[in-house]
Each structure stands twice: as C-alpha cells, then as structure tokens.
Symmetry: C2
Subunit: 190 residues, 2 copies
Amino acid sequence: MQERADAARNRAHLIGVARQMVAELGADRVTMDGLADRAGLGKGTVFRRFGTRAGIFLALLDEEETLFQQQVMSGPPPLGPGAPAVERLVAFGRARLEFLVEHTVLARAALDPGQPVPAGDSPSLFHVHMLLGEACPDEAASGTLALQLVAALEGPVLLYLRAPEDAPDPQTVVADLAASWQVLVERVCD
Amino acid sequence: MQERADAARNRAHLIGVARQMVAELGADRVTMDGLADRAGLGKGTVFRRFGTRAGIFLALLDEEETLFQQQVMSGPPPLGPGAPAVERLVAFGRARLEFLVEHTVLARAALDPGQPVPAGDSPSLFHVHMLLGEACPDEAASGTLALQLVAALEGPVLLYLRAPEDAPDPQTVVADLAASWQVLVERVCD
C-alpha cells in the first residue's frame, strides 16, 4: 500500500511539474530527461509512468478530456442528454472542435509518431457511434461509419492544419469546420 | 546543366537504392545515414534531396501516387472521367483505400512526425473537391467539407488502424471501409 501511495504521489507530482514546464517552455521543449531532472526523480520512474514522451502530453490532456466527456455525459443539452440525437451530434462536433483548438498544442504533442492515433478506442468514437445509432438506426450507424465521421471531425484540426492556434482567428477555423460538420451530420442522418 | 544532370542522376540513384533497402530491410530500418552509405553519396546530398527521413518515403510513394492519379485523370470510368460524379466519388474511395492498404508501410513512413499530414494540398483533396462540386453544387461542395471527407476516407487507414497490412484479411478492411464510404458519399450528395 505504501508503494502504491508513493506511485500516486509521484504521478501527481510529475503531472504538476510537466504542466508547469509546458507553460514555461512550450511543449516542444519538454523531454523525458528534462522532466525527470526538474521533478527530482529518476529517469526510470518517468519512463515507467509515461512510456514515451508523447505519454507525458497524453496524461496532461487526459484530465481536460475527462472534464469534456463529463459535459457530454451529464451536462446541459444539446451537448448533454435531453436533445434529439442529430442536434447532439451537431453540438458534439462544435464542442469537440473548440476543445481541440483550445488544446491543440497538447493534443498534437500527445500523438506518438510511432503509434497510430488512438481514435479506435477514443471517447469521441464512443459518443459518435452511440449518437449515430440513435439518430439513424440503420446502415449508417455502423462502427465503421462512426470511425470515418470521427476522422472527418478530428482529422482536420489534429492532423492536417498548420497550427490552427497560430491562425489569424482560430474561432473562424472552428466556425467553418463546425458549419461543415453540421451539413455532413444532417445529411448522413436525413 | 552538368550540375542539374548530376542532380537528376543522384536522385534516380537514391530512389533506386532506397526502394531496394525498403524491400530488403523494411521501412523501419531505412535511415538517412544508411541510405547515404549504401548509395555511396555524402550525407549532405541525401539531406538536400529529401530533407527528412520521412522525405525518403514520400519520394518513393510519389511515383506510385502519380500512377494512381493518372487513373483518376484519364483512366476508364467509373474511376476515370465519363461516369456520374457520385459514382466517381464512390469509385475514387474504393480505389484510394486499396491504394493506401497496398502502400500502407510507405504511406505511414512518409508521415513526418514533426509536420502536419499534407492533406491540405493533396491530390486526393483536389479530386474529392472537384467531384463533390459536380455531384452536389451547393453548400456541400465547400472546400471544408471536401477536407472532412478526405479525412474520413484516408484517416482510418493512415492514422487510426493498427497496421491493416497485418490484419488477417486486408481486403475485408478495404471492403468494409469502402462500403461505409459509399453510404457517406451517397447521403451527402443525395
């Protein structure tokens, strides 16, 4: 039990230090070695905790992600339960785009170059698949189409655009992608 | 002129050696240093030619890509000109998925971890945007929706799946994604 408590403390300490380093230095300059040094822990501890450099950012993103998912699971409609499924899909897209643009630096840094993007078991896929099933309970509700829709929603910000946070107006990027997402979803579920 | 001819010969030589190394060693084990060694050229020459390690694979992929694009531009319908635009979009999706699964190793190796995926100016985006404009000349034909559809088409193979070439049956993966792409496109253009 003592060991487990130490591990939890180490994790909280590492996450706090990592967050501080991202704020001070930018994500680009946070390394496993640098984090171990600053945290006063061995490199082995950092490695066991995060696995890879991308794992550091994934852990930071994870906390924000949990807050986002709570809004979807139990926040007010139309993002939360209570609105028709198509409206919820539209609201999910807009909120997700805002989330990704707000956290672009972390979200991109969390992409591990050696690993596929973990959309295959992401909460986004879970929600889109569920809402798609409610909105149009037919062939369109397949897991494959849900995966393609998640790619359509998250791909442009995560993967294609050159640093939307540096765009003259990130809110225009979000508005444009969200409007187009609405067209897509409404037509798929029509 | 002499210098330009040398450069072209170096490029052809490097591409040939790189192709051989990928076949012999697998893409994972091809490095800038290894390629320079094997080609008997300076590392500076390799660097100037390809920029990054991912640039090597992008150059290899580029030749296959050119053949693929020729099929779209001037091959037989429905992939080539002559079929209705929606049919061409459906055929484009299936052919593109087959192409990506056939060349997954190169296509993934060509993704530069430090750079956004270059879909923003890819030939795929050009074709999807053009066909979408023909198939449904209204709000759906926006460049943003075309980008989202390219993400829906290419994202699952390029980015999300764990090595589809290692799947028990890559043709099932293609068939599944292609069927779902057809649903998506037909509904968007309905």
